[in-house]
């Protein structure tokens, strides 16, 4: 119990550290890899908080697929963020204000692990007590996901399907040409741009055809 608590505090501190690094870095590749690390650290936290199924999914989908999607998109966009300082003060004020209000509410919440918290009094005891004998599946999360709350999962599938359709429609006819903007004078990026312009000249553009 004590060890779990210490691990919990350590992982949360690590998450804050990674988030601050994301905030400060302006190199997008580094930002994306750090967001993958953020997902993986939170997956470790989920194991520590008994949510093993969520940890699986977060590690595979959050840290894996998400990061790969971001990296794939990075092939077509500039690798560095341009500095922007114009809205920092106002945004900071909004965030600090909202954070302060939320912190006020935090101390009215039940503490971590309180077995009498309202969230444990509603339907969860029924799921834990009945699902074993009613459905013969030992993993309660699976039972609730596929049986008790099957309609939620149906809705989720519809959302994912719609998003997939949206991505396909957006990227239909996406030409691989990239506007050549001088990002930096590094040889690596220059080589990449040269490779891209070669590719674009090989495939004639739609507007000219």
């Amino acid at each position: 119990m004590m060890a779990g608590l210490i691990i919990n505090i350590f992982l949360l501190a690590l998450l804050v550290l990674i988030a601050v690094m994301v905030l400060r870095s302006s190199r997008l590749y580094a930002v994306i890899v750090m967001s993958g690390a953020y997902s993986l650290t939170s997956a470790a936290m989920f194991v520590n908080l008994d949510a093993v199924d969520v940890a699986f999914t977060e590690a595979a989908v959050g840290a894996g697929i998400s990061t790969v999607l971001f990296l794939a998109a990075m092939a077509y966009v500039p690798a560095d963020e341009k500095p922007s300082q114009n809205r920092n003060l106002l945004a900071g004020l909004i965030c600090v204000g909202a954070g302060a209000l939320l912190l006020l509410a935090v101390f009215n919440l039940p503490t971590l692990g309180d077995p009498m918290a309202p969230v444990h009094q509603h339907v969860a005891p029924r799921y834990l007590a009945e699902s074993g004998s009613a459905l013969q599946i030992p993993n309660v999360v699976t039972t609730v996901l596929a049986s008790y709350r099957g309609f939620d999962t149906l809705g989720e599938t519809i959302v994912v399907f719609t998003a997939g359709l949206g991505v396909l429609m957006l990227l239909a006819g996406f030409t691989r040409t990239v506007r050549v903007t001088p990002v930096s004078s590094k040889t690596a990026s220059a080589k990449k741009l040269a490779g891209r312009s070669k590719k674009s000249s090989a495939t004639p553009k739609g507007s000219k055809a």
């Binding site: 989908v61 999607l69 998109a73 077509y76 922007s84 503490t111 993993n139």
Partner: protein, 134 residues
């Protein structure tokens, strides 16, 4: 006081992480960074839910046949499983939009996109960027 702080530690850190994510979304003009901020925000909400589901001394909700075993609450786990998958779907949609925006305006910086839009709405003599903006 210390006890209260230790019990609410998760929630306090979650609030801080949320606000870092919100700040990224509002203050950064780079669209990729905004999307990363959104996923930071999202993951902090996941942590909040999973923290609520924890029962002290409990174990993962996989039945072992022993009636005395104490399990953590499975309901938040189920909700967050759904949210993770929906989250990655919306991320993919956002990235596809970013690629299209980059194709149309040649930039993923918000300032530059707004500038390009303003230039487009002017009565134009001859745009140097006319070809890809149709």
């Amino acid at each position: 006081m210390i006890e209260q702080l230790a019990g609410s530690w998760n929630h306090i850190i979650v609030v801080i992480l949320m606000m870092i994510g919100l700040f990224l979304v509002i203050a950064r003009t780079n669209l990729i960074k905004k999307l990363v901020g959104l996923s930071v925000f999202q993951t902090s909400v996941f942590i909040f839910y999973i923290s609520l589901g924890k029962v002290a001394g409990g174990t993962a909700p996989i039945l072992d046949g022993n009636p005395d075993t104490l399990y953590s609450n499975p309901l938040p786990h189920v909700l967050i499983l759904t949210a993770i998958v929906v989250g990655v779907a919306t991320t993919a949609l956002g990235l596809a939009l970013i690629l299209r925006i980059n194709e149309a305006f040649g930039s993923i910086e918000e300032d530059e996109i707004i500038e390009a839009k303003a230039r487009e709405s002017l009565p134009r003599p001859k745009r140097p960027t006319g070809e890809a903006a149709e």
